[in-house]
Structure formats: C-alpha cells, structure tokens
C-alpha cells in the first residue's frame, strides 16, 4: 500500500515537469489567446467580429484556400511517391534495398533552410534545371520557384523520408505468414496488395496522411523562402501580421482558424481509426 503510494508519488513527480510545461506554456496561453479573439480587451462582451473581419478579407480568404490546396497537393504527391518506396523496402531483400533505405533518409538530416535554398538554386531561372532544359533546346518552361509549384516540390523533397519511415513501420507489422498464406491459395501480387496489405496498413496510412497534412499546413520556412508574394501560406501570413503589420489580435485569430482546420483533419483521423476498431471487434 505504502509502496504503491510511494510509486504513485514518484510517477507523479516524473510526469509533473512536462505536464507543467504543457499547461503553462501551451494550454494556458492558447486558451487565453482564443478568449482574446472572442472577447477583445477593448471591446464589450463576447463577439465573433474578429473572425468575421478575417474571413471577410478577400486576400486572407485566398491565403486560407491557397494553404489548403498547396498542402493537399504536397500530401498527395508525397504519398504517391513514398508508398511504393515503402513497399519496395519492406518486401524486397538484398543489397540495393538496404542501400536505398539509407539513401532516402538523407533529406531528414538536411536543415529545412538549406533544403529550401538548394531547391531555389536548383529550380530558379538560370538555375540547374533551366540550364539543362535550355541545352536540350527547350527555351520556355513554367516558373518553378516563388510560387505554389516551388512550395510543393520542396515540401515533397523534405517530407518523403518521414512518410516512408512511418508507412514502413506499419508495413513491418504485417505478418509474413499472412502474405505467404495468400500466395499459397493462389493470390497474385496485386490481389495480395489489395486484400491483405492495404486493409492491414490502413491505420498507419491514415496516421501518415494526417501528420503530413498538419506538418505541411503549419510550415513556415519553406513557404517563406520558396513561395511568392501572394497568395501566401498561413504560417507566413501569421508571421507577417504579428511582426510586420503589428496586429497581434489578427495574427492570433488566423492562428485559431489554422488550428481549427488542422483539428478537423485530426478529427477525421480519430473517427476513422475508432470506427475501424469497432468493426474489428
């Protein structure tokens, strides 16, 4: 009894520091920020005026739309490139896959700032890509940086390793016996993939998609360096409102809107996962 109580106290003591950090540096400021946007210090009473003003601004609406579209595009491209790679690394044995497994993680160790500048040098007018195309006789090609294309390409480059790692972890969890069993009863590779691997890997896939969306949606460095003047992604918009336009309340309101969008995606994931688990039972 005393022992278990002592252990409980020890556990509490161990959990307390991160818990206090979470409460005082994240939850309390976030809640007070939300209250500020709904109950402005100078205004009277509760009001949605701030949200109406932000959502009524055409430029900000286009920033929100732009952020969602760019994020979805980047997530889609990342996913389409990483899933085959993860499958290959999981189901092929040999020296080449193990070499690839090391190679593909390299972007994980390149700081985002450096990756962004590298992409700019690579894609800009008079850059590598344009020089190569020019040599091949192609004199006109669409601008690849300082616009949505640049953001998507850079986001994809930096997030592929992360996506492959999570998808790979999910694929590792699939029992080889199931796949061998499917093969024994005559299922081809496609049938095995559709009936065994895809359903069993659905939850890791959902986790990957959600994390990719939230990560890219909230990114700042890449859209700041590789993006254009307008429209901008919300990370850049928020920073401008806070540090350049000196409008803290507007910045916080945009942050709350961004949070709601990310939370909606998170909720989608929670619902789908819990539904799957209910079906499993």
């Amino acid at each position: 009894m005393t022992d278990s109580r002592r252990q409980g106290a020890l556990g509490l003591a161990l959990v307390l520091p991160p818990l206090l950090v979470l409460i005082f540096l994240i939850i309390v400021p976030a809640v007070s920020a939300v209250i500020d946007t709904l109950h402005p210090p100078e205004g009277a009473g509760w009001t949605l005026t701030n949200y109406a003003l932000i959502l009524g601004n055409r430029v900000l609406r286009s920033d929100i739309r732009f952020s969602i579209v760019v994020t979805l595009a980047a997530v889609a491209v990342t996913f389409c490139l990483s899933y085959p790679l993860a499958l290959y690394l999981r189901f092929t044995k040999g020296r080449l896959p193990s070499l690839l497994a090391v190679l593909f993680t390299i972007p994980l160790f390149v700081p985002v700032v450096i990756a962004s500048f590298a992409m700019i040098t690579f894609l800009v007018n008079h850059g590598m890509v344009s020089t190569v195309l020019y040599r091949m006789g192609i004199e006109w090609f669409p601008p690849l940086v300082y616009n949505a294309t640049g953001i998507v390409l850079t986001e994809v480059w930096t997030t592929i390793p992360f996506a492959v790692l999570i998808l790979g972890a999910g694929l590792q969890a699939i029992d080889d016996a199931l796949i061998d069993g499917a093969r024994d009863v005559g299922a081809g590779p496609l049938r095995t993939f559709v009936s065994i691997i895809l359903p069993l890997n659905a939850t890791p896939t959902m986790i990957t998609l959600t994390l990719l969306f939230i990560g890219i949606f909230g990114s700042f460095t890449i859209p700041y360096l590789v993006g254009g003047n307008a429209p901008q992604m919300l990370g850049v918009t928020m920073t401008n409102y806070l540090t350049q336009y000196l409008r803290r309340l507007d910045a916080v309101t945009i942050a709350v809107i961004a949070f709601l969008i990310a939370a909606a995606v998170g909720a989608l994931y929670v619902v789908s996962v819990s539904r799957r688990e209910r079906h499993a039972l």
Partner: protein, 382 residues
C-alpha cells in the same frame, strides 16, 4: 662647496619635502591610469556592423586611449534586445549601476527609453565634437541618441544599359514602364529598400510630414489610394511579371546577374557590394527627387552606466574624422558629422547619393503600409 646653513637649510628641506609630495602626487596619477577600465558595448545589427566595431573602431579607440578596454556583445539582428532593455530599466528602478555603457539598437527601444529617462542627454559640454553633427539630426532624437552613421535608400542602375538615369520619382516610373521586366523592389515585409520604394510612391501623392510624426489616424490612410493605384499599374512592368524577392540581398543578386538593370537599394549595402566587386563594374547609385527614405543609426549611453567618463570619451572620439572615415571605409555608411568635415575624396565618392533623405513614416503607418501593399498591390483586393 659652501655648506647650507640656517634658514637656507630649512628652505632646502621644505623644497625637498615639497618635491617629494609633488612626485608622490604625480606618481599617483600614472598608477591610477594603469587601472584599465573595461567598457561594455552592446551592438545590435548585422555582421557588417559587428566588423565595423570589432575590427576598425574599437582597436583604433583603445590604441588612442590605452586606459580603456572594450568588451563588445553582439546582438545579431537585434535579437535579445528585449533583455538588454529590461536589464537597463531594472537597474534604473533599483537605483543601481548597470554594466551597459553603450548600446546601439533600434529606434523603438530608444523611444521607450527616452520615456523612462534611461539615457544620458548629450550636449557639446560633455561631448565637444557633437557640434559637428547637424543639429536637426540630434533634435530628432531629443539629444538622447548619438547618430554616428547613416544610410539611405537610393536607386542603383547598370550604366551599361541605362544611359539616362531618372532624376525624379516620375522619371523613374516612366523608365520602369518603358523597360518592362528590368526593375523590381523587394517585398516590403522583408526589407527596407522595398518599403522605401513603396513609401516613395505613397509620398508622391501625400506629404511625408503628415505621416512621419508621432500622430496616427488610420483614416488619413485614404490619401494613399493614388499610390496603391500607381504601384498596381507598375506590377506588369516588374521583373518576372511582378515578382518581388525576399530581402535586400536578393535584389542585389538580381542586379549582379544582370537579370534587372535598376532597383531600389540601401546606399551602404550597394556601395559595399560594388567595392568588393560583387556588382557589375557599370553599376551606379543616385538619389532621386523627392528623395527616398533613410536612417541614422544611433548609440545611447545608459544614465546608469558605471563608466560614464569612458563612454563619453568613446562617443566624442566616434565623431572625429578618423572614426567617421572608418564608417565609410568599412560599411560605406554616411558620416554622422556634417559632410563638410569629411575629406574631399570621400565627398567626391558620395556626391550622387549624399543628399538629404526623406523621413520614414512612423512605425504604425509603416506597419499599415506593408499590410496594405500586400492586400492592394500583390494580393488582388479591390
């Protein structure tokens, strides 16, 4: 040799005693001078400013005044300035001395500090060389900040392609329209040289004085409308159909690669790049009329400094032609003292850019200019 007798002996003894006393006193002064005083300098800015202090100003100062040593703290892009301000303010409230003897920082902290009475009020009584500084520059900061160097935004152009550079803002606009794709300015959210061009367009139709003062009324911003229209009309004639790069350096790079032939640039950065050979040989810099905006960089002396005498000696030395020439050589800045005190060669080098510059709008208007530029010029609002 006759021996000293009687009163002579007394006198001699008195003289010797007096001499010993004098020597003793004199001996005291060198002994005190041997105690070196370390001045603590907090310098906010970019790496070129750190180099100016570390490699040029401070070695020359400590050589001239061996009594003093300097301990310099670098605040890159003024990061950490909040803490320095809090430290000075806390010491002042507690009635204690503070180990900040000189601080170069942004106008915002200077203004806040003036309100709190944190700085030493300067005058020619405590800093004799201050008489060489134009009086209106000193009055702009109420004699609390010492403007030891300056710079302004000017027009840089490649004389290989531009034979008749514009001399007025209207000429500049006409040139941009006549040469589509060969001009740009950086995104005002990321750099001062872009903000200056945008503000120049606004000042074309609204008086600078109205927005430079402390008063702020958002309603007055209606006067900016013609400026926004002008800038929006110029968008198709900008580099890459209206692209504005991020940061001053990105614009200089476009000039260096000859992607563009003309741009608004900071005088000190442009001249510095040119001197290092990073810009085409044919690059030239001019100020237009009405002039674009500029800044004086100021240093402040916290009133609670423990080494006031040393800090004042340093300030006074900063305003000598010797120190001012370093400002020009190292960062291609404008001198803090009047041009007439500078050597003829320096005046020649700067004759096209060393003109009066316009005042920036106050910080609140400046913030609105950046936001509205984003909405009205590139954002596609009505």
């Amino acid at each position: 040799m006759r021996r000293l007798t009687g009163p002579w002996r007394t006198l001699a003894a008195a003289l010797v005693a007096g001499a010993v006393c004098l020597v003793g006193l004199n001996g005291g002064t060198p002994a005190r001078a041997a105690d070196t005083v370390t001045l603590n300098l907090y310098i906010g800015g970019d790496t070129n400013i750190f180099d100016l202090w570390k490699k040029a100003l401070l070695p020359a100062f400590t050589k001239r005044y061996p009594r003093y040593k300097a301990n310099m703290v670098e605040l890159l892009h003024d990061n950490g300035s909040e803490g320095i301000y809090a430290k000075i303010l806390a010491a002042k409230r507690a009635g204690r001395t503070v180990d900040v003897d000189l601080w170069e920082t942004t106008p915002g902290f200077m203004e806040q500090g003036i309100g709190e009475g944190l700085w030493v009020k300067l005058s020619d009584r405590i800093v004799p060389n201050i008489s060489k500084v134009p009086a209106d520059t000193l009055a702009a900061a109420d004699y609390y900040g010492l403007p030891y160097r300056g710079s302004s935004v000017v027009i840089g152009y490649n004389s290989q392609f531009v034979k008749n550079p514009p001399s007025t803002f209207d000429d500049l606009v006409a040139w941009i329209k006549a040469n589509p794709g060969k001009f740009t300015y950086c995104d005002p959210n990321t750099c001062g040289s872009g903000t200056a061009f945008v503000t120049g367009a606004i000042y074309r139709y609204a008086s600078a004085e109205r927005f430079a003062g402390k008063a702020y009324d958002a309603k007055d911003e209606a006067a900016w409308q013609p400026g926004w229209k002008l800038l929006k009309d110029l968008q198709p004639a900008m580099y890459n159909n209206g692209f504005h790069p991020n940061g001053n350096v990105a614009v200089l790079q476009l000039l260096a690669q000859q992607n563009i032939w003309m741009a608004s640039v900071w005088s000190d950065m442009g001249l510095d790049w040119y001197t290092r050979g990073q810009l085409p040989k044919a690059m030239r810099f001019i100020q237009i009329t009405p002039p674009l905006m500029g800044d004086d960089s100021r240093v402040m002396l916290p009133a609670g400094s423990a080494h006031l005498e040393g800090a004042l000696t340093l300030l006074n030395w900063l305003l000598t032609p010797e120190a001012q020439t370093m400002v020009i050589d190292v960062v291609a800045g404008y001198p803090g003292i009047d041009w007439k005190y500078m050597p003829e060669s320096v005046r020649q080098k700067f004759k096209d850019v060393a003109k009066a510059f316009a005042p920036w709008p106050n910080p609140k208007y400046l913030a609105d200019i950046k936001r509205l530029w984003h909405e009205q010029v590139v954002g596609g609002a009505q």
